[in-house]
């Protein structure tokens, strides 16, 4: 395959959209209902605008150092040794996110589809598509992300089907949560948008960089629209009190709709979600795989690739169960905010340097 890592800005946008919608989004409406009640959508809009500003800063930084990723920019800004140390931290964040997302993915799949199968067996099974795509580079991986559109189609179809049951009074009065409560929930909501920071790692592989801003911002706005829509619909349908008790409101929404020939519509969504979450795991896997190869100048791919896959599975087994995994995932949240903060700081620092 020719130029297996080269992607277009449009593909990067879809790649980012997948990373954003695939994971943090699932639990977001329930978490927001707990934090801010029925005003969560205001928090979604505010976090969307903040993440857009962060994206603009990151892309302006990347434009300044045309064709370089953050791994090359850090040593330039802060010197060779500090830069390398920062790179190791960034790599650690990516690896941690990848391993944790894989474990959460495994546990959810086990929980929803194969209760009696050991989750290690499920892990071996679900890493297969990732391992296959990773071997061929970023291009097929970005193509795989197009699957998001099928999910979006089903979400929109589901929303359309339940639209007449929505009680808009569940969303009134607007602003009842208050500014303080909304401000407190911003951090949680911002995390759902995490995924856009991957731009800083894969930017060198984008062919038409002049369009990157348009597509990545477009992806962020699309995520914002989907988050808002699903929050409004789930709140309007279940009410904030019921929503607070749910784990994944979108799946509850799917279960709520009854089809004449299919008893469990939620299972259909769980199944459709599989390639999407696979896509999220893939995006982080590529960033780690590529980062490791670049930072440590690894050339022997034949040896490195199986070791990488084996290490991913082994490290993902460290948390004992889902509870420990979710607790460990809190670190990803903080790490994500630190990494985005660091990227914005780099942009500001680049004016001084």
């Amino acid at each position: 395959m020719t130029e297996r890592n080269k992607i277009t800005s449009r593909q990067l946008g879809i790649f980012i959209l997948t990373a954003q919608i695939g994971f943090g989004f699932l639990t977001l409406p329930a978490v927001l209902a707990r934090d801010t009640g029925h005003d969560g959508w205001l928090s979604i809009l505010a976090a969307g605008i903040i993440s857009s500003l962060a994206i603009i800063a990151i892309l302006l930084l990347l434009r300044k150092y045309a064709g370089k990723s953050i791994f090359e920019i850090s040593p330039r800004l802060f010197g060779r040794l500090p830069g390398k140390a920062i790179n190791l931290f960034l790599l650690l964040y990516l690896s941690y996110s990848m391993v944790l997302s894989f474990r959460v993915f495994t546990e959810f799949i086990t929980l929803y589809t194969l209760n009696l199968t050991p989750s290690l067996v499920v892990a071996l099974l679900i890493i297969t598509p990732t391992a296959y795509l990773l071997r061929y580079g970023l291009k097929p991986l970005a193509r795989f992300s197009y699957f998001i559109f099928l999910i979006l189609f089903f979400i929109l179809a589901l929303v359309f089907l339940v639209a007449n049951k929505i009680r808009w009074t569940f969303l009134m009065p607007v602003g009842a949560a208050g500014i303080a409560s909304l401000g407190k929930s911003l951090g949680t909501t911002f995390i759902a948008y995490i995924g856009f920071e991957l731009v800083a790692f894969v930017y060198p592989y984008v062919e038409d960089r002049e369009n990157t801003m348009k597509w990545v911002l477009g992806a962020n706005f699309a995520s914002m629209a989907v988050f808002t829509l699903v929050f409004l619909v789930t709140t309007g349908l279940f009410g904030e009190n019921l929503l607070k008790t749910q784990l994944i409101p979108l799946f509850e929404l799917a279960r709520y709709y009854r089809t004449p020939f299919f008893e469990r519509t939620d299972l259909l969504f769980v199944l459709l979600w599989f390639p999407l979450v696979e896509g999220v795991f893939l995006t982080y896997s590529f960033a780690v795989y590529d980062g490791l190869r670049r930072i440590f100048a690894i050339r022997n791919r034949r040896l490195f690739f199986p070791l990488f896959i084996a290490a991913t599975i082994l490290f993902s087994r460290i948390p004992a169960d889902l509870v420990q995994t979710l607790a460990a995932a809190e670190v990803v949240t903080i790490g994500g905010i630190i990494v985005v903060g660091y990227l914005i700081f780099c942009y500001l620092f680049s004016f001084v340097k």
Binding site: M1, T2, T8, R10, Q11, I109, T113, L114, T117, V122, L125, I126, T128, P129, Y132, L133, Y136, P140, R143, F144, Y146, F147, P260, F261, F262, E263, R264, L267, L271, F274, P275, E278
Partner: protein, 466 residues
């Protein structure tokens, strides 16, 4: 530039173009020009060249030409490149004098003896002629390459200059030239040698036995690979969705053509996943079936002693055996035997309680779906069907989804001659949808499909075409 040089340049990479220097009675030289794929060299020698060589050219001009002695031969006064090219492409032989003031043209009176029967034949030369007859343009070029150490064979790569991307041609010819093989016996083997993904279950080049299919591909800017000794040609590059198109789709009503393609796409889905879905629902996730329907399903399985996967494997194995039987026996016996054996075995299996009646419906629907598919895809679908059944038997619906994900990942990764295999869906190219999923009227299809990345995307605009 002299006319003869310009003609030679126009017919560059046309190995069937013959331009031979001949000595006339006056001692001067002339050029004999013709396309040997359109006109028989023996006819040229006997009926055209010999009478003309006896002629005293010093006394001959366009106005004073002894037509009575030379039947079917006429002069072209002040010949130019275009008129000569058109005459050659229409199947005439030309004798051009060295001064290029006079040309004589002759055309065989009878019907060409190589009647095509509208299908490619084993001989490379004849196949090139079939193409030449339908595309009367010097832009139709052939590169003839030799492969095979112990059993040398010829491979022709046909293309339409100006329509095809030069990179594509160089890529394919480069791959053929780099081949180090003892010999190639068929186009199927040839495809496996030059394809991008040798381990893939999916075909990466499209087989064509009919010239109309080949011509449509050439006009779309693709390459045609013709192996001497094999009547099956290969179209490259191909996308996954090319395999769902048939030449007849273009001839019929647009809606019917599009409907047939959607049916074939549905057939791929059913052919691969339908038996596995049965296993997933019956063995693992029966709760997705509404209660009133579940009772019917359970009733149909009440006497079956096997678990769903064994039941499916038994019936699928029998179906595959029947299919093999039908392909081995002569057509009229194979069909009847297949139908009788299928009906009897199916009925017996249900009556004895070996398999459920519902499974017979599933298996037959799968069989019908796989028979609807184009020949290139049938074996891929059969193989993937069994892989999906096994994965589903082990992991339920998750096995099915993982298999589907791997198939999807493979399809988006694959390339044919370096072009994305899953285009125009991924990478997304809306303009390509017009020819693949919907069929707009021909007047609305002025652009070539984007898949082969044709050099000139507008139809009817080929560089230097007549």
């Amino acid at each position: 530039m002299k006319i003869i040089d310009e003609l030679m340049e126009s017919f560059r990479d046309c190995p069937d173009f013959i331009a031979r220097e001949v000595v006339l009675t006056s001692g001067k030289t002339g050029y004999l020009l013709f396309l040997e794929t359109l006109i028989e060299p023996e006819w040229v020698r006997q009926r055209f060249l010999e009478p003309l060589l006896a002629l005293d050219f010093s006394a001959v001009s366009a106005s004073a030409f002894p037509e009575s002695n030379l039947v079917g031969i006429c002069p072209i006064d002040s010949p130019d490149v275009d008129s000569l090219k058109n005459a050659v492409l229409s199947g005439s032989a030309i004798l051009l004098t060295a001064e290029e003031r006079l040309a004589l043209t002759g055309y065989p009176a009878g019907k060409n003896h190589r009647d095509p029967h509208d299908s490619f034949v084993k001989e490379l030369h004849a196949n090139l002629g079939l193409l030449r007859r339908r595309i009367a343009s010097s832009n139709l070029k052939f590169k003839v390459l030799e492969i095979g150490r112990f059993s040398p064979g010829k491979v022709g790569v046909a293309y339409l200059e100006g329509a095809v991307q030069p990179g594509l041609l160089a890529e394919l010819t480069g791959r053929i030239e780099r081949l180090k093989v003892d010999g190639v016996v068929g186009t199927g083997q040839m495809e496996r040698l030059v394809r991008d993904f040798p381990w893939s279950p999916f075909p990466q080049f499209q087989a064509a036995e009919r010239p109309d299919k080949a011509i449509a591909a050439l006009l779309a800017g693709k390459l045609l690979l013709i192996l001497d000794g094999d009547p099956v040609t290969l179209i490259a590059p191909a996308t996954f969705f090319d395999f769902f198109q048939e030449p007849d789709d273009l001839n019929g009503n647009g809606f019917t053509g599009a409907f047939s393609r959607w049916l074939r796409l549905l057939a791929v889905g059913l052919g691969i996943f339908f038996p596995a879905m049965y296993v997933a629902v019956m063995a693992y996730h029966y709760y997705i079936v509404p209660l009133h329907f579940l009772a019917v399903l359970a009733e149909s399985r009440v006497r079956v002693p096997f678990p769903p996967v064994i039941e499916v494997l038994i019936i699928e194995a029998v179906v595959e055996l029947l299919r093999e039987l039908a392909s081995r026996l002569p057509h009229y016996i194979g069909v009847i035997t297949g139908v009788v054996a299928g009906v009897l075995l199916g009925l017996a299996a249900v009556f004895t309680g070996a398999v459920s009646g519902f499974l017979i419906i599933v298996s037959m629907a799968t069989l019908i779906a796989s028979l609807v598919l184009p020949a290139d895809l049938i074996s891929s679908v059969r193989m993937l069907k069994f892989a999906t059944i096994f994965a589903t038997a082990l992991f339920g619906v998750l096995g099915l989804v993982v298999t589907a994900s791997v198939i999807f990942a493979h399809l988006v990764t694959m390339e044919s001659l370096g072009r994305p295999y899953f285009q125009p869906v991924i990478p997304f190219q809306p303009s390509g949808f017009k020819g693949v999923f919907i069929r707009t009227p021909c007047s609305h299809m002025q652009k070539r499909m984007p898949q082969p990345q044709s050099k000139r995307e507008r139809r009817g605009a080929i560089d230097g075409a007549e």
